[in-house]
């Protein structure tokens, strides 16, 4: 398994697009977070009362954008092997198909999580600076730091979120095999639920869609205020995304195992 993992890591690391995509993930996440921090107008925070605005969540808001490049990375890691025929060589070297797929998925998840660590650290630092510059200071009840347990949970959760999106995308890509088809499926899965929820006016269904959606449920992990009003608790929400990712990974692994390469 170590060898297979090493091989997959080498393949992923030495393709130029990987670096650009991981850089794009960080840029999208930090950029959107900074843009929102600079453009948003928060309500005044009364002394003594809990602040209504969740600046941790706002600083991490670029996750929705950053996940697109993570999905592209994971999809390409799987489907480019089929496009070039490299998959035959991979399977000759690692005949255990579950092993080969597991190693590839693990390498992709690791790369996505690494980009997530960089993105979260930078987004929190940039967000803290901009929010402080604009007057949302600790003395007024606003504060953004990874030493705060809730913010740390949001940050760690976001890193896991990126890893799970990579696993979801890798699983679907292994099941579908075509790059364009796989990426469309992944993006539809990530974005269709929140859009449908915005459209539905029935409060019960809206809540259900927020609970079922891999994106909306998973992003509950970023909330640090108003936890009682969330559709799901932070960790339960992340567990919903984990269930989607696990289902996709199992499907991908089964297709990879039983279908001719």
């Amino acid at each position: 398994m170590t060898r297979a993992l090493h091989a997959e890591w080498t393949k992923l690391r030495t393709v130029p697009s990987t670096g650009w995509l991981l850089l794009g993930t960080m840029a999208a996440k930090v950029g959107v977070g900074a843009a929102i921090a600079g453009a948003i107008h928060l309500p005044a925070c009364r002394p003594g009362a809990a602040c209504p605005a969740d600046i941790t969540r706002l600083a991490l808001y670029g996750t929705r954008d950053g996940q697109v490049t993570v999905a592209v990375l994971a999809v390409l890691a799987v489907t480019s092997e089929y496009a070039t025929g490299l998959v035959h060589l991979t399977l000759a070297a690692t005949p255990g198909r579950y092993q080969a797929f597991g190693a590839k998925a693990a390498a992709t998840v690791l790369a996505a999580a690494a980009a997530g660590v960089g993105a979260v650290t930078a987004a929190v630092a940039v967000g803290a600076w901009i929010f402080a510059e604009r007057g949302y200071t600790p003395s007024r009840g606003y504060g953004l730091s990874l030493t705060d347990p809730a913010t740390l949970r949001a940050g760690v959760g976001t890193v896991i979120y990126f890893g799970l999106v990579a696993l979801l995308a890798a699983g679907i890509a292994a099941a579908v095999r075509g790059g364009a088809a796989a990426l469309s499926t992944v993006l539809a899965l990530l974005f269709a639920f929140p859009l449908a929820a915005a459209l539905v006016t029935d409060a019960t269904w809206q809540r259900r869609l927020h609970q079922w959606s891999p994106t909306d449920a998973g992003l509950n992990i970023q909330a640090t205020t108003g936890l009682a009003h969330l559709p799901l608790t932070p960790w339960t929400g992340l567990a919903v995304l984990a269930a989607w990712a696990a289902a996709a990974a199992v499907l991908g692994a089964l297709v990879f195992r039983y279908r001719d390469a």
């Binding site: 843009a35 969740d54 706002l58 490049t69 469309s184 993006l187």
Partner: protein, 287 residues
């Protein structure tokens, strides 16, 4: 009630009951007969009981749910019914992209350029085909949606006198239906042109989806002016063409703030610029 909160990107409608008292109601001039009341508005079973009105002398008390007074409010049943095209576009984008990138994957493109060496003309022909096909599909879908959704909306209370009667021969309704088809056609051309520039299927889909879908999510927590700029500068604003009522900032959909023609113009501009760039590039780069 439209909720625009920072912790959620959704908006929902919740019925609330309110009471209004009108005292010293006077009639000037000659009248005959007594006051006549009529209950208007929707009969959705999930909403609280419909309103009532009581009269005591010259004081009228009106209790109920909904809008009291003139004007329909910002809700637009045409816009709501046509929104489903958004999901159709998510399917169309990969089709338009693959129409271009699959030529590069199997080197069919060499045969194509061998058969017609004037490459700009090849690209123009491909753009015309995908544009016409997606426009036609979009038009059929928008028409069918309108015809199916209109009676459903009417049955659920979107009907006169609370909501104006709509018909395809009204300019705003026609603009929304045909404009939706133009939007779908322009997105098809945009996807094709970006595909000709980038050549990689997955990368192209990511770019087009990022331009069309992500602004909706990013706009949600922003101030209205910033959100308006964001949708006015990206193809996401094109959905404004589905609106038949004046622009408003009170709805969850950020493109509701744009005028229909501005939104459609932005998408067509994106498609035109991308196509020109692709034509310029395809001449100069090896296939």
């Amino acid at each position: 009630m439209i909720k625009k909160t920072l912790s959620a990107t959704s908006a929902g409608e919740t019925a609330t009951t309110t009471r209004a008292t009108f005292d010293h109601v006077r009639v000037t001039g000659a009248t005959a007969g007594t006051w006549v009341g009529e209950t208007i508005g929707h009969t959705n079973v999930k909403l609280p009981a419909l309103g009532s009105s009581t009269q005591a002398g010259r004081v009228f008390t009106v209790t109920g749910s909904g809008t009291i007074g003139s004007g329909e409010g910002p809700d637009d049943p045409i816009q709501n019914s046509l929104f489903g095209l958004f999901f159709g576009v998510l399917v169309l984008i990969p089709v338009a992209v693959l129409f271009m990138t699959s030529e590069y994957r199997r080197p069919l493109i060499l045969a194509t350029f061998g058969a017609s060496p004037r490459r700009r003309r090849v690209l123009a022909a491909k753009a015309a085909v995908i544009g016409a096909a997606s426009f036609g599909t979009g038009l059929a879908a928008a028409l069918a949606t309108y015809l199916v959704a209109r009676p459903l909306f009417q049955a659920r209370g979107f009907r006169p006198p609370a909501f104006a009667y709509t018909s395809l021969d009204q300019p705003a309704v026609l603009r929304a239906v045909v404009g939706s088809a133009v939007l779908v056609g322009a997105l098809g051309v945009l996807s094709l042109a970006v595909a000709a520039l980038v050549r990689r299927g997955a990368a192209t889909i990511a770019i087009v989806i990022a331009l069309f879908v992500l602004p909706v999510f990013v706009a949600a927590p922003l101030r209205l002016t910033a959100a308006r700029w964001l949708v006015a500068l990206t193809p996401a604003g094109g959905l404004a063409v589905q609106r038949t009522k004046p622009p408003t900032g009170t709805l969850a959909e950020p493109w509701s703030m744009l005028s229909p023609w501005l939104g459609l113009g932005v998408v067509c501009g994106y498609a035109a610029v991308a196509l020109v760039l692709a034509m310029w590039r395809v001449e100069r780069r090896d296939a």
